[in-house]
Amino acid sequence: MSGLLAVVTAQALTGGLGVAYLAGGVVVAGLLEQAGRPRGTVLGALVAWPLLLPLLGEAPSPTAPALPPGPLRGRIDQVLGALQDTLGDPAASEVPWEADLAGLRRALEDADSRLALADRLLADGTDGAEEAAAQLRAARARRADAVRAVLAEVQALRLQVGMAALAGDDDALSSRLQELSTRAATLSEVA
């Protein structure tokens, strides 16, 4: 009995298998995109989709919606990124800092996105509500100053990490980080 594909060469079959593989990657990537998976996962599926098949069966874990960036987002990223690098240094403190830093970042980004909302509202025009607009501008300025003050103290905290590494005073560092995190959380409250 003749072979199923006896006239097809190994070369053509290998090429066909490759094309079928790429097609599978496109399909799986599309399904992951629809399921709301991260962009990196979707791109990875194009190349290595057999390894990402388990994700098709499960729902994505609920995550907080991304906050729209405000006028201070770049500064926040720069300052917190530098602090993260410093805390992540093997010679730095052994105090667990990831959770506090994550909380600090969330609070600052939340305050920053509220500044962005205020800016959009002010840009839309006041339409006769001059007094309300003036109040909004004043509140916006106070909030932005508060965020900048917290960022300045975060920068000072980097130097304190060095002091703690030399003096071995992890407790003071830990309490300072928590204090800053708490203070940043109050930025979201009504002034």
Partner: protein, 234 residues
């Protein structure tokens, strides 16, 4: 920056990393990072290997090395869950894939770290020794990666060694044929024929058979009994 943290984690405590990803249910976020680390390490190592000849062989080998790591994994991992289940060990496919990616990325990074040493050796070695060194480095760096997968499988199972042996055999066969299909990686410096992939002809087992006969000093002639019989020596 997060890639550097992940690289440190999988080099220092890969087993804990597999457990963490499973406990956090963060496979969707971590999988592309692990793929990226695997690709970066393999690309770097591939560039070093291609540098033996230089020129176009550098990017050619660099592009193919990540596939040499990934393709056998993709061929074998689907079967491992069934094999281990038959041997009384229940492990999820997602955990196997996580361990495979962590182990693969670990191997790739270690191979990339061995790149400078290999490059120095290439400067004084002839072609055959260079090939053996390439294979030797891959084998040495592959062991820590394989251990990650072996340790990720839960304890227990009276037929555990059967599953372990079967897994190694399947991975070995898949890696051999994948390497054959993706050849050449190392090309002689004087070679003018630089191609991305050679035509699909024969298979790695035929090549090994031919090499074994050649090592015995017996070279080709026509066949008897439908099988090549090598007559004559050089």
């Amino acid at each position: 920056m997060i890639l550097i943290h992940r690289a440190a984690e999988l080099l220092r405590a890969p087993g804990a990393m597999v457990d963490r990803i499973e406990a956090d249910a963060s496979f969707a976020e971590e999988a592309p990072r692990l793929l990226a680390l695997l690709a970066l390490g393999a690309l770097t190592f591939g560039a070093v290997v291609g540098g033996y000849r230089g020129g176009l062989q550098v990017p050619f080998a660099a592009v193919k090395l990540p596939l040499l790591f990934l393709v056998p994994m993709m061929l074998v991992l689907p079967a491992l869950r069934g094999l281990w289940s038959l041997c009384e060990v229940d492990v999820s496919y997602q955990r196997l894939v996580t361990a495979g990616l962590v182990g693969g990325a670990r191997t790739a990074l270690l191979a990339a770290a061995a790149g400078p040493v290999l490059w120095l050796l290439f400067g004084v070695m002839d072609y055959h020794l260079a090939v053996l060194s390439f294979v030797g480095v891959l084998g040495l760096c592959g062991l820590p990666g394989l251990l990650v997968v072996a340790r990720a499988v839960p304890a227990g199972g009276r037929s555990r060694w059967v599953a372990l042996g079967g897994s190694l055999v399947l991975l070995g066969l898949a890696s051999m044929q994948t390497g054959w299909l993706l050849r050449p990686f190392l090309v002689r410096p004087q070679s003018t024929d630089v191609v991305l992939l050679r035509p699909v002809e024969e298979d790695v087992f035929s090549a090994v058979e031919t090499t074994a006969w050649s090592a015995l000093g017996v070279y080709d002639s026509e066949s008897d009994f439908g099988r090549p019989v090598y007559r004559g020596t050089r």
